[in-house]
């Protein structure tokens, strides 16, 4: 009896091993790279599909996927300039009390239903409703209301003038979802099966793993060249490198520059680097010792931005002197803050400090959240030490940074990355430096007095000139330490035509084999 049992057990074991062995050998690794398909090893996953509400809607890293599925009111070119999206025309009246928009004729949702002006107004009203959970409902979307529809034309009344209102139509939360579908399936149903009017439809979504997209036959811009697109959510950089090296993915991004340099030289792979709309900077807080202008100015003059970029980022960065990148509307190349350690020393000496009697402060930074963030701060601390600033590094998580910044309790210096993919000065210098903003750190009356009137400036030329003056004032007084414009490294398979965007978008519908 016992011998029979053992024999049966042996047979079962052999059968199990055989099934396993056959299974493992039968299935091969599926390689990416078919002419009608594209696999992207993407660095973040999609937590939620509604691109207009909640935490995900203001996550810049998710915008590439959202833009593949949903249309924005207004679209952008690779250089950040604006172009028609679902709106073909838009603008203000002369005294900026009214807005007008024209909805694209013939555009359809992904179920074939036509997109109407009523749909657009439904979306605008929903965005401005605080109950919807749109994180910028009050400041942006509620600034215009009382919409009226006449065919494809929409007019609205300006409640409080916001110069970048239309730019936000191409920015965070500026997306449209189909009212008829959303009202039918509800919030949770929409999350399970999202629908928009963008170039791709969601074919299959496995939360935390991947999303498979299929070309939208109704897309007003024409059916995309690549029929099937997969965004794999590969959050680990080493795994993304393995994905592209093994041929499992056709494109990846956000990898260490050392790996980028190695991979771009490999046969069959192509490397593209693009300066993007992300600016590495150090916030200064209006607390001691930075209330002393000499200390602030010394801290800025002591930093060699070019050396940071060349040595730590292997040249992949663009040194900056203001919070405006070259592609932004208010960039002023004439504003320069010299690297001058001797000047820094003399400024500190005026305040009684020297390398042997340094001024002490704390600098906060993330570690591993941004490329070489901790190493950059270590290098800056070394540069500061040489002139007479002794800084203690405090490493924290980015979540803590947001909380401390919202409470205005950051250390005297704090490293951060400011993104602004629409390039309007309000959305970089403005919110970063205007005292009443929940995002600002430096709060002084002189600066707020300069920025305040610019929010309501109706003349666009005057407005941009005003922001340039603000940037110069900030540089002259060292209210912040801008460091460099980030560069996005992308590796893709050769044969794929890839269009880099300054806004850091990876858009499959602009690619082809």
């Amino acid at each position: 009896m016992r011998i029979n049992s053992i024999k049966r057990l042996k047979k079962c074991l052999v059968a199990a091993v055989a099934v396993t062995a056959v299974s493992l050998s039968a299935a091969g690794v599926v390689m990416a790279g078919g002419k009608d398909s594209l696999t992207i090893a993407y660095h973040v996953g999609v937590p939620a599909w509604d691109p207009t509400t909640g935490l995900s809607s203001v996550n810049p890293q998710l915008q590439s996927i959202y833009k593949s599925v949903f249309d924005q009111y207004i679209d952008q070119n690779p250089d950040l300039s604006f172009k028609p999206g679902l709106l073909t025309d838009w603008g203000w009246n002369d005294d900026r009390t009214k807005v007008h928009m024209t909805v694209r004729s013939g555009a359809k949702w992904q179920d074939g239903e036509p997109i109407t002006a009523q749909d657009v107004v439904w979306n605008l009203n929903r965005a401005s409703d605080p109950a919807s959970g749109n994180p910028v409902a009050g400041f942006i979307w509620a600034s215009v209301g009382d919409f009226e529809i006449n065919g494809n034309e929409i007019t609205g009344t300006v409640k409080s003038y916001t110069a970048d209102y239309f730019k936000w139509m191409a920015f965070l939360t500026g997306y449209l979802i189909p009212p008829h579908y959303y009202e039918k399936v509800g919030k949770e149903g929409f999350e399970k099966k999202p629908m928009g009017s963008g170039p791709y439809m969601v074919d299959k979504f496995e939360r935390g793993s991947y999303v498979r997209l299929k070309a939208n036959p109704y897309y007003w811009g024409g059916k995309p060249a690549i029929e099937n697109v997969v965004f794999k959510f590969v959050t680990n950089p080493a795994s993304r490198i393995a994905e592209i090296e093994s041929g499992s993915s056709d494109l990846t991004l956000n990898i260490p520059f050392e790996e980028y340099d190695r991979l771009k030289d490999k046969s069959g792979l192509v490397g593209v680097t693009t300066p993007v709309s992300d600016i590495a900077m150090i916030f200064f807080n209006d607390v001691e010792p930075f209330l002393d202008a000499n200390v602030r100015k010394a801290a800025v003059h002591a930093v060699n931005r070019k050396a940071l970029v060349d040595r730590l980022l292997k040249g992949y960065g663009v040194p900056l002197h203001t919070l405006e990148a070259p592609e932004y509307a208010a960039y002023d190349p004439s504003i320069k803050v010299a690297y001058d350690p001797e000047l820094a020393k003399s400024l500190l000496a005026e305040s009684g400090f020297s390398p042997s009697n340094p001024v002490e402060l704390t600098i906060q930074t993330t570690r591993g959240y941004l490329p070489k963030d901790y190493e950059i701060i270590q290098a800056i601390v070394g540069m500061w030490r040489k002139v007479g600033i002794e800084a203690k590094i405090d490493v924290y998580e980015v979540a803590k940074h947001y909380e401390l910044r919202a409470q205005d309790t950051l250390a005297p210096a704090a490293f951060y990355n400011w993104g602004n993919s629409v390039g309007d000065p309000q959305d970089s210098t403005g919110h970063a430096m205007f005292g009443p903003s929940p995002h600002s750190v430096w709060d002084t009356d002189d600066l707020d007095g300069m920025i305040g009137p610019l929010w309501g400036e109706l003349d666009e030329n005057k407005r941009i000139a005003g922001w340039k003056k603000v940037s110069r004032h900030i540089a002259d007084n060292a209210y912040v330490l801008p460091l460099y414009q980030q560069v996005q490294p992308v590796i893709h398979r050769s044969g794929l035509s890839f269009t880099p965007y300054v806004s850091n978008f990876i858009l499959p519908h602009t690619m082809g084999w």
Binding site: G45, P47, S209, A238, Y402, D427
Partner: protein, 335 residues
């Protein structure tokens, strides 16, 4: 384990779970990292911020939030995820089977490895198989657990690219599952294409989890078998003329299992905890992978739900280990 002692263990788990709930809830609200601060856009006004706090119930005091949380918990409601905007129970229900399946395969691999290597090493004590297995165990223990995942990706995904290194199954394979237990469901349905694909994808992450357990378990099993081999009943078996193989397998091995099961049980809790990093590295859509995203996004309801789930898993696992221990050791059944 008697029914009474099982009941006692279950009752004792209630205050344990409550302690986990309280500590978890309070800690999450005390440590820095406000989810609303992460959510506010560049143009958000104080009214926008307050509105978001109200939407997510974070405008209440911690005590009030805790009372609402306990009330909802008794109704089977763990809240709505802040980042994923989905019901937390549903989210965890979708991911838990993925992690359980991965842990199950890892444990099977570990047990096969422990028994295979342990018996082999003790059979050939003092010879090269023992030296080789000892060296292997030492090497595996010296390498941090998560590094195995990265090493496997490099070896089997890049240098010798024949194993998938991402996800749960080939994206080209169509499967409409009724449950999230893809491996078991595909096997039961006889869908061997899906089974093969899921198995292929689970091997490397499961092996990464199993290796440290194999290393520890093998050493213990080997020394336990060697110790058992010095016992009188083994000498008697030798006198009776049993073969060396039969003595090791049928006489020494069953008695050497008790300490191995105890240690393996403890190590299994580490294995379950290890799924967090391994799932992340292999892009495996389990509970651990979701836990990291939840922490990054300060998704309080989701973190609370995941921690509670892990706590329940550990308690259940410990009870199961005790039951197995009692089954293997007859003396304990009468305690």
């Amino acid at each position: 384990m008697t029914a009474a002692s099982l009941l006692r263990r279950l009752m004792l788990s209630v205050p344990t779970l409550f302690g986990v709930l309280v500590i978890n809830f309070v800690l999450l609200r005390v440590v820095p990292g406000d989810p609303i601060a992460m959510m506010i856009g560049p143009g958000a006004t104080p009214e926008d911020i307050q509105n978001l706090r109200e939407i997510y119930g974070l405008d209440q005091s911690i005590f009030q939030q805790f009372l609402f949380y306990i009330r909802d918990l008794f109704n089977g409601n763990l809240g709505i995820s802040i980042s994923m905007r989905q019901d937390v129970v549903e989210l965890i229900g979708g991911r838990l089977p993925v992690t359980l399946e991965l842990a199950f395969v890892a444990i099977v691999i570990a047990l096969v490895g422990i028994v295979g290597f342990g018996i082999t090493a003790s059979m050939w004590k003092g010879h090269w198989p023992e030296v080789l297995i000892d060296a292997f165990s030492g090497f595996v223990q010296a390498v941090p657990d998560f590094l195995w995942g990265l090493l496997f990706i490099l070896i089997f995904g890049v240098l010798w690219a024949f194993m998938p290194i991402f996800g749960r199954m080939d994206l080209t394979v169509e499967f409409d599952p009724a449950t999230q237990f893809y491996l078991f469901e595909s096997l039961l349905r006889g869908d061997f294409v899906v089974f093969a694909s899921v198995l292929q994808h689970i091997v490397l992450p499961a092996l990464s989890l199993a290796l440290p357990l194999i290393a520890v378990g093998t050493r213990l099993l080997k020394s336990s078998i060697i110790e058992a081999m010095a016992q009188d009943y083994v000498q008697l078996a030798r006198v009776k003329g049993f073969s060396h193989f039969r003595i090791v397998v049928s006489q020494a091995f069953p008695n050497a299992l008790i300490p191995t099961v105890t240690l393996t049980g403890v190590q299994m809790t580490f294995l379950i905890g290890g799924t967090v990093l391994v799932e992340r590295i292999f892009g495996y859509p389990g509970l651990g992978n979701m836990a990291i995203d939840a922490v990054i996004n300060r998704d309080l309801p989701l973190i609370q739900g995941i921690v509670l789930t892990f706590a329940v898993m550990f308690i259940v696992l410990n009870i199961l280990i005790d039951m197995t221990y009692a089954f293997l050791n007859p003396r304990l059944r009468h305690d």
